[in-house]
């Protein structure tokens, strides 16, 4: 398409190359037909945190934290205070006198930790004399404490008082943390997972390292909880390990290896160069049964109970996938450095042996499609029973830079943040239209014009 506009050979080449997977303009299953562009940041926006049903906060390299209303797109508050980029942000729910109140904890490269009140915009607490910058935050609602992970692990109470901390670990520091049953904490440090135990004796809290799990051969990028009994970790070279949450034994080990298509010598050099990046597990998400892993620019769906791969797309995006989300009904979403968000659906293959046909999208309006955006060839599937296909349902194009993260407000909206300093709220146009109608009739009623 657009050959007629582009004219020049060079420009055309880039278009062809980027069209690894192209769904086309007709997307009947894509309900996001309305967008609202939110401007406010001056640098890359990296984090989105939901505050309540209506509000969310965004933060990024400009050190700003902005609080938005997802329905109207209003910027409600600008939380200024950090002088450098924000490295972690989480919401912190405090229950006071029966009222739940959500606050925000942010960590920045300027070695500060702040607690913000998203109602008033006040910086309620601030700690500025940290020895290292914090890379991850974990709130333990049950104990009413929260943890910060950098070069050391610190435990804080709700009044921002340091309860205890571990010794300096390594220069790598803690990149991810998660809560395990019985007051245990798993923390990813370079190639290891360290299990910490929080000992509560009276009002004192002591933290100590219990075990080092050194089964990964490369840096761990992702650490997630699957369900009460299992958690998973993914490493730079595509190792996916499922662990038992209680006794920390390996339940499953999967080495993700994209099978090499038969390539001629000419392109082999390029492929070997790309290999390490392609296998890196950037992000994982789980719904308790399935794990979806972002592996390079591909997607990988793993069935935990069956301990097997369910579906995958080797090239799901034109560039590295940065964030994924698995929804209940077998749908998943991914966003990538190529600036798009793609929505996928797990579908049973018609016949086990037959590769997913490219004719699926052909059902919808192939008539008149301008030229060559037919489905790309589906990657060859290994002969695995129960393998399903991952079909592209639609894509969202709006950002001009890498989409860092997205945040779903269920059917209400989807918020994406990007390197192009923008946030985009995607909404269901049909639903918004109905909401606007309701607003109109409400206003008519208020003005007594009905």
């Amino acid at each position: 398409m657009l050959r007629w506009i582009l004219g020049g050979r060079e420009a055309l080449g880039t278009v062809e190359k980027s069209a690894a997977l192209f769904i086309g303009e007709e997307q009947p299953k894509n309900c996001f037909t309305e967008m609202q562009v939110l401007k406010g940041h001056f640098d890359i926006v990296r984090f989105l945190v939901q505050i309540d049903d209506l509000r969310f906060a965004s933060a990024g390299d400009d050190g700003l934290v902005l609080v938005w209303n997802v329905e109207t797109g209003d910027c409600l508050l600008e939380l200024r205070g950090h002088t450098q980029q924000i490295t972690a942000m989480t919401s912190y729910t405090i229950i006071r006198g029966g009222n739940t109140h959500t606050a925000l904890i942010t960590a920045s490269s300027d070695r500060t930790l702040s607690l913000w009140d998203p109602d008033s915009g006040n910086r309620v607490q601030n700690i500025s004399d940290l020895q290292s910058s914090v890379k991850c935050l974990l709130v333990l609602d049950r104990l009413d404490v929260w943890l910060s992970g950098g070069n050391e692990l610190c435990v804080w109470n709700r009044d921002f008082e340091l309860q205890c901390k571990t010794v300096h670990h390594s220069d790598e520091g803690i990149s991810a943390m998660l809560e395990l049953p019985k007051n245990f904490i798993a923390a990813a440090m370079d190639k290891e997972i360290v299990i910490f135990k929080l000992n509560l004796s009276g009002s004192d809290i002591v933290v100590m390292a219990m075990r080092h799990l050194a089964d990964h051969r490369d840096t761990i990028h992702s650490l997630i909880n699957i369900n009460d009994g299992l958690f998973a970790s993914g490493s730079h070279i595509g190792e996916l390990i499922v662990w038992d949450s209680v006794d920390w034994t390996i339940q499953a080990y999967e080495q993700i290896v994209w099978e090499e298509p038969a390539v001629d010598n000419q392109s082999e050099v390029r492929l070997t160069q790309q290999k390490p990046i392609e296998k890196s597990i950037q992000h994982m998400s789980s719904d308790g049964e399935f794990i979806v892993a972002a592996v390079g620019s591909g997607l990988y769906v793993y069935n935990v109970p069956m301990k097997s791969v369910v579906a995958y797309r080797k090239i799901a995006h034109d560039s590295n996938v940065l964030h994924t989300m698995l929804q209940k009904d077998g749908r998943l979403m991914s966003c990538s450095e190529d600036g798009s968000v793609r929505m996928w659906e797990l579908q049973d293959l018609p016949l086990p042996a037959e590769p997913a046909s490219s004719g699926f999208f052909g059902m919808f309006g192939t008539f008149g499609r301008s030229s060559k955006h037919s489905c790309p060839p589906v990657p060859k599937l290994p002969e695995v029973p129960g393998l399903r296909s991952l079909e592209l349902n639609g894509d969202l194009i709006g950002h001009s830079g890498a989409v860092q993260m997205f945040l779903s407000f269920k059917e209400k909206a989807l918020v994406t943040c990007s390197t192009d300093h923008l946030l985009i709220v995607w909404k269901d146009g049909e639903m918004q239209s109905q909401l606007r109608s309701l607003a109109v009739f409400q206003k008519l009623e208020e003005n007594q014009e009905l």
Binding site: W4, I5, P28, E34, Q36, G398, Q434, E449
Partner: protein, 856 residues
Amino acid sequence: MIGSPDVVAFTKEDDFGDSFSDPLSLPEEFSVPLFTHTANANPWTKTSFAKFSKDFILISEFSEQVGPQPLLTIPNDPKVCGTFDLNYFSLRIMSVDYQASFAGHPPGSNYPKLNFVEDSKVVLGDSKEGAFAYVHHLTLYDLEARGFVRPFCMAYISADERKIMQQFQELSSEFSKASEIVKLGNRKAFANELEKKLKDLEYTRSVLHKEAELQKMNNGCYSTQAIEKANELANMEKSIYEHKDLLRQITSYPSRKRRDMDFVECETEKQADTSVSDDALNGNHSEVAEKTDRKSSYTPQLIKAKSAKCFDKRLKTLEELCDSNFYHQTLEQLNVIEMTFRGDLCSIYTSQIDRALLSKQRVTSFLFEAECDWEDEGTSKNFNFTSNIPTVPVLHLSGEPLSLESYTTCIDLDHIKPGVESMEGPPESSTSDITQETSEAADTETKGSFSSDKSIEALGGVSPSSLQANYFDGLERKCKVSIASSFENASHSVAVPRRSSDGNLVPMDASCCIGQDSFVFEEPLPELAQECCGDTVVNQEPLSLFQGDTALQVNYIPEESALAESPNMGLTFSELNTCVLSEDVAKINIEDASDSTSYMSASTSSDRAVSPFTYGSVLTLKQKKKAGHSALRFIRQYPFAQQAIFCLLSGRTLVILGVDEGMVRKLVNALFVFVPNLGKYCETVQPWLSTPFQLTDLQRWKLIGLQRAASPAGSSILHSLNRYSRYISILDCDNKTLRCPPYRGTLISHLADHRTQIKRGSTYFLHVQGMLTQLTAKAFLYTFCHHIHLPMDINEQGSVKSRRTNFLLQLGYTVEESKIVQYLSELIKQHYVQGSSKWVKQSFCFNYTTSFLYKI
């Protein structure tokens, strides 16, 4: 048995009459009176034998030295009056006896008293001259004039008697506005003059006092010189007292005149102040002197004891009588009057009905009507006030209708424009026309700077009552401040009339209409007049007119039917100057002979050369009609015009890509009439862009002219085109191709039929307007039907969708046409809910459809 003839006899005629009423007939108030058809007379032949070629306004004065004399005519062109004897006619109009104000010493009073008389309005005919006139008498104050008053009159002179009679109400209200301005300026000038005179007198008194003391010292108390001096001094005292009294009278004018509740507060404030200053005047002179000294650098002069009442003294001109600013505003207003009432009575009627109708459809008029036209009426004058007296900008609001909208508009006009000019555009759009962004930035900047003033901040409130209350807080404070510094200035600022309401409320003197040959005034078309005047007041909430849903429907139905009937629809007030058939129709501009608009306005030479609109300037109907011509050419030339128009109507941004700027601009100019919600300044159109566009640009521009260039910038433009291709349609004017979603249906083929028989651009424009109005009506219906939008039950959402679809199908729309109606409906909803602040939070809607490539 009763036979049928008996039955007929028993039924009254009314029963039959009531049972049937033509549903298509126009309501009474919208009907244009028919031309009285006598003996197959050609309605365009001149029935009168007037010696002037077209209507004009004459200002005359009854000079105390030379009697009635004409001062000026509007338009100020000797050709207009022809051989018409202005001197004679001035005599005629000035000799109409009316309740002239009498100033001077009324019986039983020792001091001169100023009379604040109402203006009088008379219709006068001179069958011999073939001239008929609406005559508006007013008096201005002049300290040097006899009785301190100078009688003036403004007359609208026309050869068409019916025009004068039937437009009496409108003429009266318009002339009252002009009169208010000139009188306001006059009061200001008169008070100024009085103050100077007072200073002279006081100075003279002090000199006399010294002399008298000296006389007493030298010659003793009872010398003749001393007694003479003492008498002189006493006279001087009396004179000072009289002048102070005059000053008090003139400055207390508003409290006597104005009955509006709005002014009560500031009046009491001011009254208190006047009384204080009165005390000061009586007791301590030095304080007053101090006050006045601070105010001006006027050096008092000695006044001769016997002021020479000679006849060779020069009387002040009208411009001197009122402040020069006010004088020019008056002239401007009179020019507006002249343009408004120019032309045939029938077209005046039509345009008045038009305006009345337009002002009723505020819910949808923003879509395709030129929104500015009916808003302008209220705001253009406001702008004058603020710009002319920039020292106390807040106070001058007192004279304006208290409408936030109009206020911001006047700020816009006043401050933003220069701001935009001086500002450097952002780098991304530096090579293109001024973008919305820049003006937005300027907008917020100005607002920011203004909001430092508390009284303006108060204006931000929404409800009118709170607005006024807050506003008057501010005004009160401001009054105090400025009274302290400049008493005179403040009092006059307060006296600025509330024009828009005055227009309707000007009381009529019933006894004033009888002259020698003058006609007894009959009130013409009272309902229509009321409606027109009432609705042109813009300081109301956009929708507060609607009393209920039924009213809504009622308002809507006549709108549609009347618009279908009315041939002149879409013409509104300010266009009259350009589109009304003037008397000198004969000149036809050869260049645009095909376009009827060109000669219609041959008389207004200023806007002869209307260029295609430029971004950021107010769009006029004239430009729209020109665009009609281009549009006509476009639909004849391009077979895929319908698809392009479909894109615009359904809200899909159309990018016109081309190398040649002129060509692209021409196409933009041809298509912009189809852009819904065009905006007052054409904000939704970017006629020429040479930088890559952003996602947000697609949200606010619905029609973009884009440069195709071979430069690196050009390739990034192409990249953005490619990236956002699903949101846009691209019309390549070099290759003559259009890439857009398909359109199936008949609606647009009616709108843009390339075999159309319409020859003229303006005709085609009206055709388009008619079609679009129908479409708007459908969108209105779709938007405000409850049953298709409100869920019957909380949980069911799907049925709403199907009900909507079915409704649109029942209206006879195809899937594509439904998209148009839905898009218009979304715009209506957003406009209704968010008000006019449509740029703040508009979301960008689109749908995922396949595009085709159309070739010529």
